[in-house]
Subunit: 347 residues, 2 copies
């Protein structure tokens, strides 16, 4: 089942549409945008995964130093201490390095379909020891005039959830790590419930448990507690290996509607929905038995990492969700879904 109406101009953004951050780098993937409205336009905060230009016989990987400046490490391809068998991660002398380094880039659009880079806004880059391997997959929640950014901090030490806030998209208040490792896929609800903030997040465990969606509460968005699991993986189903939240849940007459991703053992990523109780979002009312969107188009089936639909951003207008998503971990696409149709599919 797939109830999404894809944009006719998909993919709406590809790696070649964006300038690399330096001459030494090229953009391998452009994906997984956080989405928001600002200054009368629709904006995407895209994840730009860059790779260092390679020279034969060596492997170059980018790492950020303490000041957030990209440093290029070069390894001899014949060095016996080097293991470069995985295209995403290399190991040298027992230490892991990512082959790509991600940062976040702003693009905007008047119609929500054609996006370009604005002149006067800078990219958001990793900074400090917990972001030395970059920052990824940012969710943006707007509360009042403030935007709350939750993103994956990646380093040799940990994969955790970072939080920063902004009002003007030019200055950012960095607040450090709000969910300790191993954690990602964090989305803050855009409304307080019973005078508390809520967030969905996705811890992962090396033993007992798995890659499940959890919910937490906070008085201030900086400190989080009362962690409860709301969705586990389901053996034999489309979301058997991992599940993770998309963007902030959508308030509907029937409860909070959350569009989440689920992957199976073959790493095929589809989207499904969770309906959460309006007053107690830790209580799950229903959950998709089948995906509401799955990789069926050529650009969703083939690419850097094929068979992937991953969303962490959308705009809601009446019954219509305009959903933006990363396809095949390489390009950015858009689609429209009807809230009522999703709710009907959950019955």
């Amino acid at each position: 089942m797939d109830i999404a109406k894809r944009f006719k101009n998909n993919p709406i953004l590809r790696p070649k549409d964006i300038k690399p951050s330096s001459k030494e780098m090229y953009i391998e993937c452009l994906l997984n945008p956080g989405v928001f409205q600002f200054d009368g336009k629709t904006w995407m905060l895209c994840r730009v995964a860059e790779r260092t230009k390679q020279i034969e016989g060596s492997i170059k990987v980018p790492v950020l130093d303490a000041n957030g400046k990209a440093e290029i490490l070069t390894f001899d391809q014949n060095d016996p201490k080097l293991d470069d068998s995985d295209p995403r991660v290399i190991t040298y002398d027992g230490k892991n390095y990512l082959t790509t380094l991600s940062h976040l880039r702003l693009v905007n659009s008047k119609d929500g379909k054609v996006f370009t880079e604005p002149d006067s806004y800078k990219s958001i880059n990793g900074k400090g020891e917990y972001e030395s391997f970059g920052i990824e997959d940012c969710r943006v929640s707007q509360i009042g005039e403030e935007y709350h950014l939750t993103y994956t901090m990646v380093s040799e030490i940990a994969v955790g959830v970072g939080y920063m806030s902004t009002k003007d998209w030019k200055s950012f208040k960095r607040q450090g790590m709000i969910f300790p490792p191993h954690n990602k896929d964090c989305a803050i609800f855009d409304t307080k419930i019973n005078n508390k903030y809520y967030a969905l997040h996705r811890p992962s465990s090396p033993e007992l448990g798995g890659n499940y969606i959890w919910i937490a509460e906070s008085p201030d968005m900086l400190h989080w507690g009362k962690h409860q699991c709301i969705a586990v993986t389901r053996s034999g189903m489309w979301d058997s290996a991992r599940v993770g939240a998309g963007a902030a849940p959508i308030a509907t007459s029937e409860g909070w509607l959350e569009i989440y991703h689920g992957a199976d053992e073959n790493n095929r990523y589809c989207l499904g929905a969770l309906l959460l109780d309006r007053d107690n979002p830790a209580k799950v009312i229903s959950r998709s038995m089948k995906p509401i969107m799955e990789p069926i188009m050529e650009y969703e089936k083939e690419g850097f990492f094929g068979n992937v639909i991953f969303t962490n951003g959308h705009i809601v207008n009446g019954d219509t969700i305009t959903l933006y998503y990363g396809a095949s971990d390489e390009v950015i696409c858009g689609a429209e879904l009807s809230i009522q149709e999703i709710l009907d599919s959950l019955k």
Copy 2:
């Protein structure tokens, strides 16, 4: 190096010294006590790991139901869906179960050496879906007249840190999970610093990162943020595989002194020390190159799981730390250490 003066009456408590919680169970291990002073006595909150009495041809495992009542599951030993090759965990039809179920039991002592079970205090048992496989390894921090208990919640869903508080050890305020999975070894500082609570904790990661000690801040002990890593494992050393906090850090003239455990690839558990900055405990001043205590006695080398010294409780009196510890994951022992000697060893 080992600078601990062990009690002459070690082990001070063994499984046979405590009554099982029911006729169907026997105590396999008595270990890892939280320690505190109350009502003019020294108290230990011990972890009691119980096993169901077995009948030939079947495997019985205990699981707590939603009300905290132990339910015995029986599996046919010849059932092809059963995997009982690991003495600690069995797998049936893809689901994991622990072979032992832990609860917490109070014992007290006038001299800190001979402990007995008091009549009018009950055990603390797992309760609810996050504690269906029991609760383990509780740290106790006293702030004013209130005791703050941080312990490992274990279930099929997750291993995380639970928190409850008490003033009288008869009624407890359960506050849910304060650190999401995979997390354990949490100790709350017994003093506020710069008007914030601090805790050490130990997240574990399935990829990038490892079993490291982290610190977090809180306004209320319920919600935690600003997670920072203070100690990683050290390749080739005694703490190469995992590290985790002991009890709450000790205030000294040179900073916060934390006794922590480190294990190597052979699962040999020793104790070492961390010295943290008095005003900013996320800053590490120094760390033991060699253990301050290691398994050397027979009762530390042989047992349910040999070569283990694990502490999560102590009493401080002047320069003397009276440290209580689990030896070989089976019995409880005591030892005295000099704060000055530990500080000297860190120079």
